[in-house]
Symmetry: C2
Subunit: 250 residues, 2 copies
């Protein structure tokens, strides 16, 4: 263990023991330098570790504050798709959210792990639709949603390349064009945010994003779109019920 790791461990234990409760500050850098008899950068490296863990947050002029993690709110993926006058919603909570900006449409390389879902080569050009969703009153950003659509699909349905795809969005356009009824599959994972995501969603350091990846296919299995939705992982959780149905062997 190096010096800064020892100091980080000491501070971490004191935080979880409640020596420094949430919303209080840990000792300031000069005090920690004196206590541990080390240079300033050593202290700063220890604190940087705690910041990366999401435990503390430096606030200028106040000190390094112990973060108060709020209880998560639940998003229930109900395995039921809702459609209202705006479009499709995959859970109730998000139904209150609206685009805070006009969706941007661009072309670019498909991310590595989306390529296999879409059935295209890694790095291939696809159409990328970016949406910023949030509370229409407070204008607080709640989730970022990005759609990746193969070029052949956009060639066949040019409106998918437009910012405004009309009522019901791309899914209604695809179904009107004979690709319905669309089937969806979702998976949840997580990763660290890009700096852009962190800025838009006001994510503190050390907070990952929950990542809901949804593949839309035609009944014949043709991949139509991959949607990647990102949420503040400290603020949200995705819930679902478990049916009791014990079997003797899987």
């Amino acid at each position: 263990m190096t010096l800064w790791q020892d100091i980080a461990t000491t501070l971490r234990e004191e935080i979880v023991r409640g020596v420094y409760p949430p919303d209080s500050t840990i000792p300031k850098e000069t005090a920690l330098m004196a206590r541990h008899r080390v240079g300033r950068e050593t202290i700063r490296r220890a604190i940087a570790q705690l910041v990366a863990e999401g435990l503390v947050e430096p606030v200028r002029r106040r000190g390094t504050v112990v973060r108060n993690r709020p209880a998560r709110r639940r998003i229930t993926r109900s395995r039921q798709v809702y459609r209202d006058e705006i479009g499709y919603f995959f859970d109730h909570t998000a139904q209150g959210w609206r685009p805070l900006q006009t969706p941007t449409v661009s072309r670019g390389p498909v991310p590595y792990d989306v390529a296999s879902l879409l059935g295209v080569e890694p790095g291939a050009e696809v159409t990328i639709r970016d949406r910023v969703m949030g509370d229409p009153d407070t204008r607080q950003v709640k989730q970022l949603a990005t759609s990746y659509i193969p070029v052949e699909i956009v060639t066949q349905f040019p409106i998918l390349g437009q910012a405004n795809t009309g009522p019901g969005g791309i899914y209604d356009r695809l179904e009107e064009g004979g690709q319905g009824p669309i089937e969806w599959r979702e998976a949840i994972s997580a990763r660290m945010p890009t700096p852009t995501e962190a800025r838009l969603m006001r994510l503190p350091a050390g907070v990952p994003v929950l990542r809901i990846v949804r593949l839309a296919t035609s009944p014949s299995g043709r991949p139509l779109e991959v949607n990647e939705t990102r949420l503040n992982a400290e603020e949200w959780e995705v819930g679902y019920p478990i049916a009791r149905e014990v079997s003797a062997q899987a």
Copy 2:
């Protein structure tokens, strides 16, 4: 933007553009110092940022390597509970995993966000059961599972405080004791790992853990146990099907 942020942005763009492909190295520190005409610590801070994002990984004697993110493997929470001779399993994949160590049982304060699920005061003493699950052949750790059980439950069912709870585990003991049929509710979120979790699961820096929190209740709604399972979020995703059932209004 500060110097180190500019440098981090430049390097990040070069990485995603493919200038430095996965498994290759970015220029070494001395080269970056010369290129950007800054001191070494400035370069190191920029690289530390990319490490925290999970983009690169420093390897001594070789350089700073661009990480190759493997495709995630899917865990399907099938909404169906399986029980075999070992115990209960909530998905197929985990059914092949076994405890790599004897479970440890201790007493300690309940974590903040488990307290409300368990219906106890934040910081109250609970029984904590820790399990390390993994591949029995390679002995690679795949998931960590921690159970939190209120003291009254353990007083009523003392075997829940033992390391070995017998075939079927705590759920069978609770059901034998008249608390069944047990009902479960799950939710998925994510957070940064603790250093202990990172060490056990060999998590590189900048990789969060997927967190599956499961509440077990008796039919009367009495909270019996909260289980927190952690998985490498870069390696795993949790999947489920979506039933097509469009309703006019939610």
